[in-house]
Symmetry: C2
Subunit: 217 residues, 2 copies
């Protein structure tokens, strides 16, 4: 059985729930989830760092002790041989290109803005970063909107792991103060993702984080 | 013939030169290089953005007009079927994990510190970011040092594309003010990479950038 060390409100961690849901794999039957609160230091405990020196979630561990880190690499491994990672070498590399885009040009702005809004105190000096983060986040959303004007998905011709990777934080971009009103193609794509068989919704986030997000608006 | 749009001093672009060199492919015989000065706006020209809306280098273009972006995705495509991207699904995903690490936890600190030192004016307000960038960059180097204590390479059992991806900016980390004195395993790994057949050295950077780097020390 696969063990996932993840923090439920994290989009990076939720990606794994999503793919496993599509694959028909069920929590506690096919995989276990160890809640690992990265917002409160759990990923910097010595026993965690011994397995993942980079101190991030998610991480998976197999019964034989092997571990893998980096959400998008884990998606590639879990999706290997399934319809969620298909195509020839060119198409698979294009899927990876969108996953690298997600980690370099999207997540550092859209996920971090959400983290600052919901997981730092209302008077945190990090809030001064929000305007710049939103400017860069909107640039990423514009790139997505342009692609979606002529393509239904990011993963080659069919729905797959690049869509899951990008859904991770796009679906909750509003938590970080992003308004998708000017991004109709992104909104339609989010709806198409939610309609996929086995789609798993992110669990509700805690009241204290919800309250901080509401205050940030 | 493959056309590469790249900026020579960029570690992300140099990765492609490196892999093509290892594969025995020669500039102007097997691929062409169009110098694209991302530090002076060439990637934000309308004709470039029409091909790559994210406005970054490198980008490759095939004779039939297809394009691919994201240095590490391009490495995967070029290395497909070669000894530089081998192993079973688990091993290939581990190679990808290091490439995602490079783009998320390494490049945004080590490459950006170098850019600020060598490509922004000596009085740039961005220089105030350097202490934080160096702190995070050293964290990435510590993760690499720990891995290399028990593994010769980042790409599965043999030298490959994860090593090329990480070499891209680690080999010139000193330009951004990083001292590898406390990272003997990283230094030894850099030397092993340089000894690989077909290794291609990064071209010298321009005098004005060298001068700015020297002033930053």
């Amino acid at each position: 059985m696969i063990t996932i060390y993840g923090y439920s409100p994290s989009g990076n961690c939720h990606k794994l729930h999503m793919l496993l849901g599509h694959l028909g794999r069920r929590l506690d039957r096919d995989y276990r989830w160890i809640e690992t609160d990265s917002a409160h230091g759990a990923t910097h405990a010595p026993e965690y760092l011994a397995k993942n020196p980079n101190g991030k979630v998610p991480m998976i561990e197999l019964d034989d002790g092997r571990v893998m880190v980096e959400s998008n690499a884990i998606l590639c491994w879990l999706a290997e041989g399934t319809s969620y990672f298909t195509g020839d070498a060119w198409q698979r590399a294009q899927t990876l290109a969108w996953m690298f885009f997600e980690q370099y040009s999207h997540e550092p702005y859209i996920a971090i803005a959400r983290f600052i809004c919901g997981w730092t105190p209302a008077d945190s000096p990090r809030r001064a970063d929000l305007p710049k983060l939103r400017e860069r986040g909107y640039q990423a959303l514009a790139v997505m909107e342009k692609h979606l004007a002529t393509n239904p998905w990011f993963s080659s011709k069919d729905y797959g792991i690049a869509d899951i990777a990008l859904f991770g934080y796009t679906h909750c971009a509003a938590d970080g103060g992003f308004d998708l009103g000017a991004h109709p193609a992104v909104r339609d794509w989010l709806a198409r993702v939610r309609a996929q068989p086995g789609f798993v919704r992110m669990p509700p986030i805690a009241d204290e984080n919800m309250a901080l997000i509401a205050q940030s608006r």
